[in-house]
Structure formats: C-alpha cells, structure tokens
Amino acid sequence: MAELNTPPEPQTPPESHEAFIQRTRNDLDALKAEMEKVAKESKDIEPDSGDTAMKQRAKELADRAEALHRKFDEKIEQLRVRFPSQESLLKATDSLQTQIDSIFSNTQAGPLRSALNKLNTKITDKNETGTTGMTLSERVEAVKAALPEKPLPQSSAPSGEATPEGDAEGSPKNWKNRISEGFQSFVGMLKDFKEMLQGFGTEMLMMLSSFAKMIGWNDVAQWLETLASNDASELANALAKSGVSMKQLKKPSKGDDLEKFKQQMSTYLQEKGKLEAPQTALANRYQELATSTKRGTAYKRNEFYKDVVDKWKAENPTAKECGAAELERMAVIAMDKTKVPDRTAEGPKNLPTPTPEKPGEVLAVVLPPQGTNMMESQKVKVNNTEITFKMLSDGLEIEGVRKYKYVPRSPTALEKIALDVQKVKPEKINISLLEAKRVNDGIAVKSKAEAQTEDGKPWKLESEQPVVIVSKEAEQILLAVQRGDGTIPIKNDKGEVVMNLLHT
C-alpha cells in the first residue's frame, strides 16, 4: 500500500502573550526611534552663524517670495470663482503662470522656488486626502499606549469566551477595555488611508492585526490585514468571510468611499462591545437549560434555538437582535461547554435513540471533540482493496489506498452523511477527481464519491474543501491531471491497479 503521509515537520511552539507584547513593543520602539532621529538631528544642527548684510537681504527676499506665492495661490482661487468652466480657468491660470515664469526666467532662484512650490503642492495634496494631524512618531506613541505594559494573563484566551471580570489594574477586564479604547482611537486615526498604507503604516496595521487576533477579535484582525493590502474588493470579501454582517455595516465595493466605510467600521467596533453581553448570556442560558430540563445531549438543536431565542428575547426586549450566525456560533460554543457524557442516561424514554432508523433524522446535538469516531467503522472491499469509512465528529474519512476526509458545512449535514453511509452499497462506489493543484506539502484534491444505496437510490458526496494528499503518488496524480488524462490509476504496493480516479 502506498505511503500516505510524510512524517510531520517539527512545529515551533506558539508565541506566548508575553513574548508577543514584548516583541510588539520592541518593534514600536524601533519605529519611534527612527522617527525621532529626524527630529533630534534637526535640533542638533545649527545654521551658518556668519550673518552678513547680503544674507539678511536674501532672507527678506525669501520672505517676499513666500508672500508672493501665497498671493499667487489666492489669485488662482479667485480665478476658480470667476471662471466657471474648466477650460477658461486653465487658460487664465496658464496665462498668469506664464507671466510669472517669464519674469523670473533670468534668475537662478526663481525656477528653484517654483520647483519647491510644486513639491510642496504634491505633499499638501497628499495630506489633504485625509490628514490625521499627527506625525508618525505621534501615531506610534498612540498605538503603543494601547498596548498593555504587563503581559496578558494566559487565561484570557482569544476564544471569545467570557473572562473573569474585575476593575483592578491588570485584570482581564481592564486589559480588554484598554485595548478596546486603543483600537477605537486607532480607527479614528485611519483617516489618512493612503499614507497609512505606505511604509511603516502597513507594518503597523499588520502588528495591530496580530494584536487583534490575540484578544480574539478575528474579524477585526482580518479587516486590518485586508486594509493593509489596499484592495477594496478584498476588504469586502474579508468582511463577508469574517461574518461581520452587522446591519450598520455596508460592505464596500471597489471604488466606494472607503472613508465612509471606515466610519461604519468604527461604529461597528463600538456596537460590538454592546453585543458581548447577550452572547455570554446565551452561552450561559444553554448550560442552564440543558441541566434544568435534564434532557442532556438529546436536547435537539432546533429546540435549543427556539428555547434560547424565545427566552433571550423575553429577557432582552430592548436589546439588539442577535443575528442568526452569531446565535449559531454561540450555541456551538455553549454546547461544547456542556459535558453530558451519556446521551441516554438522563433523557426521557421517548427520545430518539443514538442510531435513528429513519434516514435523515437528526441526531443529538452535542458533538464530541474533533476527530472522534462517531460510529463503528464500515469496511468494504473494492477490487481487493479494503476501504474503511469512518464517521468522525468533523467529517467523513474514507481510507483505501489513500485517505480522504470530507468536511461538510454543518453538523446536521454530517449527521445526514452518517446515516447515508450506512445504506451505501460499497461495491458501487466511484471516486472522481474534480480538481487537483500543487500546494506546499503535496497536492490539494477535490473529489467526489458516488454510489448507490441498498434501496437503489443514488448517493453522492463531494468534498467542499480540498483535501491535501501527501504521498509518493501526489506528483504523478498532479501530472496526470495537468495532462488531462481521464483516468488516473492508483496502484497498491504490488503495483496492481486497485482503483481508478476519474478526472471529470
């Protein structure tokens, strides 16, 4: 049998909160030092001390030239009012500019001052797209101020779970509040979008993104990362994926006013704080209900939702509605927290048995840890190769010559598959390859399994996400796909073809 997996590479341990904060502070210190260098050097240097009459005269002329430039700008502004059409305005300003250029043409300083003015305009225009009114050093300081001086306690994991609360300095609540305030002030600082994306602005966004991840604000982290990539369409996609679907947030599309979007994001951050309380209440509610009703793990998902939503609404008549996606997420968290070991021990007698007889009937809601075997393995032989089906808590695993895992979108779909698999006639299974592409550690494959159930009905299973296959044959499969071969033979250790992957 072909080798399925290469030994896993040793993984570096995850960075601790303390190390992360220290590293971030060091990075910010380095950035600040860079910014301060300019300011320091400007203090250390003294202009020429020799002050002659000629130098004084040059200074006076420079003052007059500066005043002239301001006057020129004022005149241009007046022209804008006087000439409504762009064409006539350009004509008039060009005429004035030509006259002034002509006057200074026999001087050396005139063209240089003109070049300086152009450079100044270029910089000013850039700043006017949304100046923050802060220097880079000040920005670094502002963000640094949002970092905790002491490491976050390890217990405040980024899981979105409720943390012990308290007002004392250094308590989790205190850290969270400080970080939250820091973020909100940062969002306010993002007015100068273009500038922030240049140079160290991008680095800062990425650092803040890491920071957001640390405190469990994954959607904000994703938003910041996308912000750094400077692509409005990606920004919209990131929002969609992160589940940030608050009513007050309108996703921007390419070319939209990002300034407006950032304001909405700021509002979202504020609203997010308000929503945390009902979410925690929801998690607590499930535990309470599961215990008090003694229905244990046989408590069906839809019943739970109904009970929770009804009670939550009754208790929070004026609260903002908790979105369905959020409810789902919180319910899953709540269910994971509820540890009821035996689904039949406490449940009433008329509850569904663990293995329902009616196809499609929903099983109990509590899911064991990922990878737990959910039912007895089904072993079948196809062309002398034994294929094992394992129903895991997070997907269906099919292991023949190689291993496949299908991860359905929701536990309900998973339960449906579990029932279907029991009915499948294994000798009729066809596995087709839909897509294969090279990835770092092998090839990522999307495939489809088709079969007939015992009662003759067609059964189909398509992988929704590519499965990475690491094997000696990965390269061979990829080449075959690239060549467009219709059939890819899979051989066993003896070189016998045991299965054909059909490239559809």
């Binding site: 910014m35 260098k37 300019v38 300011a39 050097e41 400007s42 240097i45 003294e46 202009p47 020429d48 000629m54 130098k55 005269r57 040059a58 200074k59 002329l61 420079a62 003052d63 007059r64 030239a65 500066e66 002239l68 006057k71 020129f72 005149k75 004035l96 006259q99 002034i100 006057i103 200074f104 026999n106 001087t107 050396q108 300083a109 005139g110 240089l112 001052r113 070049a115 300086l116 450079l119 100044n120 270029k122 910089i123 700043n127 220097t135 880079l136 050093s137 500038e195 240049q198 140079g199």
Partner: protein, 74 residues
C-alpha cells in the same frame, strides 16, 4: 537613492532660498515625506547652494517686484 538626513536638515536650516516660515515648515514636513520627496527637496536645495547670490540678489529682487505688481493687478 538614500538621503543623508543630517545634510538635508542642514541645507533646510541654512538655505537662502527659503523664508524662516518655510524653513520651519519643511523641517516639519520632512518627518512624513517619503524618500523620493526628500531626494527632490535635497536636489533643489543643493542647486540653490550654487547660486551666486551677489549677482542673483539684484536680479531676483527686480523680478520679485515685477511679479508682485502683476499679481496685484491681475
């Protein structure tokens, strides 16, 4: 392409091309200017260092007076 910041700051502080207000303004702007802009500023100010101000001043003063007049009348 890198700019010697120390030299550039010295140029901004001493250049006769700039008024005192402009001098302060450029020093402040330098903190947020990118490398390309700093280079452009340096080039302009280096050129200004080669101006023979003894010859330049009368010409420049005359041109300035004329320009002021044109702007005023426009």
């Amino acid at each position: 392409m890198s700019v010697d910041l120390t030299r550039l700051i010295g140029l901004v502080k001493s250049s006769r091309l700039l008024s005192e207000t402009e001098r302060k303004g450029w020093l402040r702007k330098m903190e947020t200017m990118d490398g390309e802009q700093l280079k452009e500023l340096e080039e302009i100010l280096l050129k200004a260092e080669h101006i023979n101000w003894e010859e330049e001043l009368p010409k420049y003063e005359a041109a300035l007076a004329k320009a002021e007049q044109v702007i005023q009348q426009f």
